[in-house]
Amino acid sequence: MHDKTVTQLAAALKSGEFSSRELTSHFLQRIEQADGNLNSFITVTAEQALKQAEAADQLRAAGNAGTLTGIPLALKDIFCTQGVKTSCGSKMLDNFIAPYNATVVEKLSAAGTISLGKTNMDEFAMGSSNENSYFGAVKNPWDLSAVPGGSSGGSAAAVAAGLVPAAMGTDTGGSIRQPAAFCGITGLKPTYGRVSRYGIIAYASSLDQAGPMARSAEDCAHLLNVIAGHDVRDSTSVARGVPDYTETLNAPLSGLKIGLPKEYFGDGLDPEVEKAVRDAVKVYESLGATVREVSLPHTHYAIPAYYVIAPAEASSNLSRYDGVRFGHRCDAPADLIDLYTRSRAEGFGEEVKRRILIGTHTLSEGFFDAYYTKAQKVRRLIRQDFLDAFEDVDVLMGPASPTPAFDLGAKKDPVSMYLQDIYTIAVNLAGIPGISVPAGFAAGRPVGLQILGTHFAEAQLLNVAHQFQQATDWHLKLPAFAEENA
């Protein structure tokens, strides 16, 4: 069962091949057996999952099942889940049992899906390797000495290892697409505002967006159908109709205009990754697409702009963790300032502190204009690059990451880690959607092809990705780990 896509499992549940309870038990058993080596879950909610599965089976027996009823999923531990620990990968929230559900969680539950648990992640979604988790690093099922990527590393690793058919992630600067690429799965970051952020623990509010991570683009389409849409609780969610993303998956690609940003194929790009991406582009040409080079001239300013804007927002968003109403509180605070400074010093990890300090500094008096205002202006230029490019082409393609997954512990210097996100970060600044699809291997580790579209072009991205997956089978490859350890 674990090698099947959500689409295949849904069909099997529908035909009665197996029950949701059997399916859920199967995956819970695999988690039990294999996750000790992978560390992809922070919390497994086995009992609750089995109950939900039984309810799903009853719903099906009563003839009330929807497309995804009974499908087991996992949630990045950044989604608030009522009655279940929601840690955000931090010691700060190690004791936080969320008292309410995120809108995405509500929607998935209403669609009849089953949550197996909460997946590991970089603390407060700050990281590109999942090494910043209070709950320990996650390993890449393709090579246990490699990182799974981050910050949605637990979700990516769990799906790749066949511990769960699909999972939810969030993406602030590449946190869905890069781990999807590193783990050889498909991950979609929707347009900013397409999916409600309510109940998703905020990192950088103007950049955060939730999306599906699964084996195939088709699976992502099914899941996006469930989670997309306006939410009255999120002012930044967009009141715009949600199409059926599965309906257009099979539209032919003849005449599709693909742009290859020249800045995405420059220095620092691993030659094997480049080859895999260029081979993938050739597949598209064979499907009738035309390819041209385009330019996104401000690409190299995306990381500098991001490391002003995201930490600035984060420094403010993370002020609520003060040891008063929830979360970690230091022992025996001497006074108020001691309560604050010690609770926060103990509760936050190094990378989170770095970003809070950077954000605090760049927002402070005398620096605000030079950093924050400047970065916001550059942000507009970066968005304009994309809007200009989409005047000429339908989609952009390039690598999701300059290298395949690197080794655990390989990147000690924060800046070298940040530079990993060179191809993903601008997308969040511009708010456009992007998807990473498996496109081969480099040094035995998966390579992700990133496809970008203009705002609200999710249907097109899924169509373009799906057609590639009809023509190739990279997305169906499973790591040996998936068979050996479970």
Partner: protein, 95 residues
């Protein structure tokens, strides 16, 4: 713009994060490198460019003035470190 120890200490104070002397000097190193990278922004001409706060040019939607929330104090205070008589407790605040 060079980052000094005093900047880090001031940021740590504003952000209410206790930082030891050793940590402070390591933060100065890390943050300096990050800000050096960030300083590339200064080389772009942004004359006349309007800052962009939100990726979409959307405007605020307004909510009807209705009471939709009910008392959930017990639920919300279950995750609180210290409460008494329905109040959150903190070390004495001197005005």
């Amino acid at each position: 713009m060079a980052l000094e120890d005093s900047h880090v200490r001031r940021a740590a104070h504003l952000a209410r994060i206790a930082v030891s002397d050793d940590q402070a000097s390591s933060f100065v190193d890390d943050l300096s490198r990050i800000l050096d990278m960030v300083d590339q922004l200064q080389s772009i001409d942004t004359e006349g460019v309007i800052p962009l706060s939100h990726p979409l040019d959307a405007t605020q939607r307004l909510r009807a003035d209705e009471v939709t929330e009910t008392n959930q104090r017990d639920n919300f205070q279950r995750c609180a470190p210290a409460v008494e008589e329905g109040l959150y407790l903190v070390p004495r605040v001197v005005e």
